[in-house]
């Protein structure tokens, strides 16, 4: 698998993949090997071994401290040709999402996007599962090798690190002249809104059923009234109401709120698989046949454009009343 680090520490998507790779490798009786490119990699390499890797190939160069597309692809393609792995897993990070298709095209093999599970079938072929059109679709790469897949952070659990595990660290040669057609100048950090959604205890998520800009403002207002984080489905992003960073699901964020409220969304699996272990799930949708109602604990059939203002009003009233009661209790 292709490992990745951020500020000298492995990305969670990378470590989680090591855990999964370990389980697959044990069944196939093959080693787990990680390729890690960048600069000063001994320490992160040790984390990958503790997470379950047998061997970590490190390619170090100050010029490659930041992700450099063509050089990274070149080193990885050469290593894969030499090692001939059956499976090559990549985290669905921004780097992985650019690098994986380049590597797959150069190796002339298949690549499955944003899998939500990876299992071995009876022929030991990797069954790469993605949600699609109301079901779980199994994608196979029957002939070409390696079988390649990307997986988002949060799909698999973090492996328990075992610092007594032994593994090898091997250095790979970096080509002296890095290809120069495209070069990462720098990586600029802004905010981490994304984190807040991933760890939010209450999430309101809106979809196409919000109807229009005014409808979306109501969805936002509901999130505000509940002091909840606002998430969305792809149609809401397509409509220009919400930022891509707040999209929940297979190709967006994985979330695990205590309380989830889906508003004007149909319950597409691409979205629903992004919500894990919620204690209470609620859906509001005007279509009683919407599949979302099979996947939640409480359902309200109503047009959210008229229902939300009413609900928000009642939430505000309730909040004010309980504040008043608390104040009375104190006095």
């Amino acid at each position: 698998m292709i490992g990745e680090i951020n500020n000298c520490r492995p990305y969670s998507a990378s470590l989680q993949l090591v855990g999964k790779a370990r389980a697959l490798a044990d069944r196939l009786n093959v080693p787990v090997e990680v390729v890690l490119l960048g600069d000063r990699l001994d320490e992160p390499a040790a984390s990958f071994i503790a997470a379950g890797a047998d061997r970590v190939f490190i390619g170090e160069s100050p010029a490659m401290a930041n992700y450099q597309p063509e050089a990274y692809a070149e080193v990885i393609v050469n290593l894969v040709r030499a090692r001939q792995p059956q499976i090559l897993l990549v985290g669905s990070t921004f780097m992985g999402r650019e690098l994986a298709p380049m590597v797959a095209a150069r190796l002339q093999t298949g690549l499955t996007a944003h899998c939500i599970d990876l299992v071995l079938d009876e022929n030991h072929v990797l069954d790469q599962q993605i949600p699609a059109y109301g079901g779980l679709m199994s994608i196979l790469c029957p002939e070409k090798r390696p079988q390649m897949a990307t997986v988002a952070s949060g799909v698999f659990p973090n492996p328990e690190p075992d610092h007594s595990r032994r593994g090898e660290i091997e250095r790979v040669a970096i080509p002296a002249d890095l290809p120069g057609r495209v070069r990462t100048v720098d990586i600029v950090k802004e905010s981490d809104v994304v984190q807040s959604l991933s760890s939010a205890p209450v999430i309101v998520a809106g979809g196409a059923g919000a109807g229009d800009d005014a409808g979306w403002r109501q969805v936002k207002a509901l999130a505000g009234a509940l002091n909840a984080s606002l998430g969305c489905t792809r149609p809401a992003v397509d409509a220009g109401w919400a930022e891509l960073e707040t999209m929940i699901g297979q190709s967006g964020k994985m979330v695990s709120p205590r309380i989830y409220i889906g508003v004007g969304l149909s319950g597409e699996l691409q979205h629903m698989v992004g919500i894990k272990g919620a204690h209470i799930m609620v859906a509001i949708n005007n279509d009683p046949k919407a599949p979302v109602f099979d996947q939640v604990d409480y359902g309200v059939v109503d047009d959210c454009r008229t229902f939300l203002p009413l609900l928000i009003e009642k939430i505000k009233t309730y909040t004010e009343q309980s504040c008043t009661e608390i104040r009375r209790g104190r006095s």
Binding site: F94, A105, G110, V282, A283, Q295, I315
Partner: protein, 266 residues
């Protein structure tokens, strides 16, 4: 003058896409008459090309692959301001995965001739992958930058772009010819104008088949695809739902009670 190719895909209108289901028996899509539109992200790619044409000199070719009705979205690109429209259409192209699609599009671009820039949306809305753009770049042997959110046209062939990255962005120096996949934050696509529609009436699109691309049928469509859809299963995430009944007022009261009980309010 910049020569730009914009790759566009016809997708079921995302607003109605939830109506689409898979026939579990045949594993084919039951589209249920959902209208086909330009993939929303590809509209941003086209807009980026139109912007470059407005600020400098550029010729824009819209390129798509799909059955003949997909020609409608190529025509829409002409109405929006593209100079030329090409549809790659052949029975042999059907059933392609991202790899085979990228290969076919790359062959189409080779046939178009010399180019400076290829633009694609960073993903398609119909649940597919983000792989087509970067893989087209590999097949054309040009550099790629994915998830571009800002283009700073450089002097000559060296450009600087900003691309999405975890918690921020990445600044990338890139030499043309190159391929960019673009995000929604790049621009705001313009809507169709009446004069655009009138002008596009005089333009026709070109259809290229397998023979026109001079590729082997083994390298395209389902035959050229490394991956296959093997099975369609179900996901076990069912919950038993309690539907709240009554008037809107009563439903809202009941919901407030549930949310308060769960500790979400109060």
């Amino acid at each position: 003058m910049l020569s730009i190719v914009v790759c566009v895909k016809a997708v079921p209108d995302p607003k109605e896409a939830c109506k689409i289901k898979i026939d579990p028996g045949t594993k084919t899509l039951l589209r249920c008459d959902v209208p086909m539109v330009i993939n929303p992200l590809d509209r941003h790619a086209l807009e980026a090309a139109l912007h470059l044409k407005r600020t400098g000199e550029a010729s824009i070719t819209a390129l798509s692959m799909g059955p003949l009705p997909a020609g409608n979205i190529v025509k829409e690109c002409l109405a929006l301001g593209a100079d030329r429209g090409i549809l790659l259409s052949d029975r042999a192209f059907g059933g392609a995965d991202a790899y085979a699609t990228a290969y076919t599009l790359a062959k189409g671009i080779e046939k178009i001739g010399a180019f400076d820039l290829v633009l694609c949306g960073m993903a398609s809305s119909d649940g597919a992958t983000e792989w087509v753009g970067p893989q087209v770049a590999v097949f054309l042997d040009v550099p790629v930058v994915t998830m571009v959110k800002e283009i700073q046209e450089g002097a000559g062939r060296n450009w600087l772009v900003k691309a999405d990255w975890e918690d921020g962005y990445r600044r990338v120096a890139v030499q043309l010819p190159a391929l960019f996949t673009v995000t929604r934050s790049l621009n705001q696509p313009q809507t169709l104008s009446f004069s655009g529609i009138i002008k596009a009436r005089q333009k026709t699109i070109t259809v290229w088949t397998l023979d026109d691309l001079a590729v082997s049928p083994e390298t395209v469509g389902a035959k050229g695809s490394p991956t296959i859809v093997a099975r369609l299963g179900t996901i076990q995430n069912k919950r038993s739902v309690k539907m709240l009944g009554g008037t809107a007022e009563e439903k809202a009261d009941a919901l407030v009670g549930i949310l308060a009980g769960a500790g979400a309010i109060g």
